[in-house]
Amino acid sequence: MDIKTILDKTSSLRILVVDDEQIIREPMCEFMKKFFAEVVCAENGQDALKKYHENGPFEVIFTDVRMPKMTGLELIQKIKSVSTPLFIAVASGEASDVNKNTDDYDMFIDKPIHFNTMLEMLTIMVETKLS
């Protein structure tokens, strides 16, 4: 699936990007802005939950796992208790961190993330949830 096809499908969606590292969060948000209609960035699980309630709901959630105050997995559970996002992706440097078979999220991504992985994630999202 080429980028333009993905763009067509995602340009109307809103995404919540959560990462405690600014050096990752900023380019990540910038990247997502090219595809999504609206991108909201949060520093940790707590911040993300607050922003979800204030600006939500978001169709797509992209979150880091290990973060101070509230982890990514806790955040997902909390969001899921009030609504059902279209697509949830978690990213971590620690492969052992996440049970890949869990139903809590749609995709697990290893950090650092290759360009192709980013495109693959978006393609999977489009193909499974938006076609």
């Binding site: 050096i23 440097g93 950090k111 993330i113």
Partner: protein, 619 residues
């Protein structure tokens, strides 16, 4: 010595005899001389006195007959005088010089002829009052001339001659008798003296022989206590002394035996150095220690000094010289000595210097202890320790790589994301110079960060031997730089607190290793308990002479039965994958051996606290 004295000196007895003999002969001679002189004098006086008396008697008797010119009566008087044995002659002379009476009849009627008598006759008037006689001695003879006077008028004179020869012979005989008596007397006295002195001398000789026998080894003999009082007393005192010596000897023997047992028991080698002659007594065990028999090594200092390892000799000699200067100072030195087989053996050499009254060293005595086995064991332990240190370094490096992974994951992810944005822009054809510049700078910034973390780690691994000046606070911050990301990753907070005001001199790399180890242990304890809100507090207290570092955590603590073993090597409570059992052992080793401090641990309400105490050294 005794023989030497004998050959040069007279014996006591001879000396006494010669001395006494000389004194007696001297005084006897003096006595005899005086006695002879006295007898001579007395005899002479008596002879003159007698001569004078005879002449007086004759003059008195002759007076009447002379006045009456009765010569026959005179003859009768003179006949009476003939009874004196020593009378040579007696004569009466009238004023004319005619011999009117004479003991020898043939001279009667003759006139005197010798000038002396004639002169006397002429001067008769002068002798009437004062001194009516002249007495003189010539040869053996004594002559007396006496005036015969009537009412102070001289009427004639008498002349008598005595022969003193027989009397002098008598005197000589008397003197000879006297000398003979004294000679016999002195001989008897000397003989008695000799016998008495000889008895004393014999007793002394006996005592001397007793001493000689004792000297030759007969210890049980005793001096004869009979005989003269003083000698008996001497013998008695000698025996008393002998008993005292025997007791001392027994006690000395016991002491010597005890010492021998002790020395043999310890298997130490004895040496005894005479500093004046440089002679050294080495005990058989001393030589045996070096693989030699007793007669194989000479008793000189070089036996030792030439075998000492060249690297150790100067230090050993320095220690020896030092002990020669300080009375009461014990000598101790460890050095290597070459064994007969060529191997080096380690010797613990201990001794003491003896000083004379003037404070001059004159003797040195000590022991050699073979400590080769201990040294080898020490060496083995040291090697083992070194192996452990190396091992712990490898493990620490492994742990570091884990930490680096944490440290790097985020910036690398950041770099990847920046690249992703650029690639996306390129794909979309919306790329512009502004974005390229901005993203490239972001990437460079992140690579610099990566480079810095590399430096941090490399700094840690560099085997820095020298001390540097730093604060514990700085080292804790360094540790935080290294392990901080890993702690963040596990949601563990690390707080650092310090009241340090100045730098201390410290092996900062080793301190960093210790602090990282403790922080990492705390982190792992917290992780194991799956605790949320894990924390580690590092508090540095700058005290007067010490620095105290407390590392506390809320990891749940260590069970009491385990806590006392945690500093032992290869002891670990962690799972086999993470624990090596060397971390705390190494930390303790470093703190004690390199910082001369100590490390302790105790449980708190929430976890444990490690306390490091090191002396504060400022340069």
């Amino acid at each position: 010595m005794v023989h030497f004295v004998n050959s040069f000196r007279l014996s006591f007895r001879d000396q006494l005899m010669y001395g006494l003999g000389f004194i007696i002969i001297f005084f006897l001679s003096l006595f005899l001389y005086n006695e002879t002189k006295r007898i001579n004098e007395n005899t002479r006086i008596r002879a003159i006195q007698e001569a004078s008396e005879h002449s007086q008697a004759l003059a008195s008797m002759a007076k009447t007959w002379t006045m009456s010119n009765d010569y026959a009566g005179l003859e009768e008087v003179l006949d009476n005088f003939s009874i004196y044995n020593d009378l040579v002659f007696a004569t009466v002379i009238n004023l004319d010089g005619k011999i009117i009476a004479h003991t020898s009849k043939e001279f009667l009627g003759m006139y005197i002829s010798d000038t002396f008598t004639i002169t006397f006759l002429k001067q008769l008037n002068d002798y009437t009052n004062n001194n009516p006689e002249i007495i003189w001695k010539h040869g053996h003879y004594i002559d007396v001339l006496r005036v015969i006077h009537e009412n102070k008028i001289p009427i004639g004179m008498v002349h008598l001659r005595f022969n003193e020869h027989s009397r002098e012979e008598q005197i000589d005989k008397n003197i000879q008798d006297s000398i003979g008596f004294w000679m016999v007397y002195v001989t008897i006295v000397m003989l008695l003296l000799y016998l008495s002195v000889n008895t004393i001398s014999i007793q002394l000789q006996l005592l001397l022989q007793t001493i000689k026998k004792i000297h030759m080894g007969n210890k049980n003999i005793r001096a004869d206590e009979t005989g003269y009082n003083e000698i008996a007393l001497l013998a008695h005192e000698f025996n008393t002394m002998l008993d005292a010596i025997k007791i001392n000897e027994t006690s000395l023997k016991e002491t010597k035996e005890r010492l021998e047992y002790a020395v043999n028991g310890t298997q130490d080698g004895l040496w005894d150095w005479n500093l004046q002659t440089n002679e050294v007594y080495f005990s058989p065990r001393w030589k045996e220690m070096l693989g030699y028999t007793d007669d194989e090594l000479p008793n000189i200092l070089e036996t030792w000094s030439e075998k000492v390892h060249p690297d150790d000799l100067s230090e050993a000699l320095k220690a020896v010289a030092w002990s020669h200067e300080k009375p009461g100072q014990l000598y101790e030195n460890i050095h290597r000595i070459r064994h007969k087989s060529g191997q080096w053996i380690w010797i613990l050499d201990r001794g003491q210097t003896l000083f004379d009254a003037e404070g001059k060293a004159f003797r040195m005595v000590g022991f050699h202890t073979d400590i080769t086995k201990q040294k080898e064991m020490e060496h083995e332990i040291k090697e083992q320790e070194e192996r452990m240190i190396a091992q712990s370094r490898h493990i620490a490096m492994g742990e570091m790589i884990g930490m680096i992974a944490h440290q790097w994951r985020q910036p690398i992810t950041g770099i990847a994301m920046e690249a992703n944005v650029l690639l996306l822009d390129a794909e979309l054809g919306s790329i512009d110079d502004q974005t390229i510049k901005k993203k490239s700078n972001e990437i460079l910034k992140l690579t610099q960060y990566l480079s810095k973390t590399i430096d941090d780690f490399r700094n840690f691994f560099r085997p820095k031997q020298e001390k540097d000046n730093s604060k514990i606070l700085d080292i804790l911050h360094e540790a935080q730089e290294i392990i901080g990301k890993s702690l963040d990753y596990h949601n563990i907070s690390l707080s650092i607190q310090s009241n340090e005001t100045q730098n201390i001199s410290i092996y900062s790399r080793e301190m960093l290793q210790v602090l990282l180890n403790l922080i990492k242990n705390a982190q792992e304890a917290i992780e194991q308990k799956m605790k949320v809100g894990g924390y580690i507090h590092a508090i540095v207290e700058d005290q007067n002479d010490f620095i105290l570092i407390r590392i506390s955590d809320n990891g749940g603590g260590i069970p009491d039965e385990i806590i006392k073993h945690i500093f032992e090597p290869y002891f670990s409570t962690k799972s086999k994958e993470t624990g090596t059992g060397l971390g705390l052992y190494m930390s303790k080793t470093i703190i004690e051996k390199h910082f001369f401090g100590n490390i302790d641990v105790h449980n708190t309400d929430e976890g444990v606290t490690f306390i490091i105490k090191i002396p504060k050294i400022i340069e």
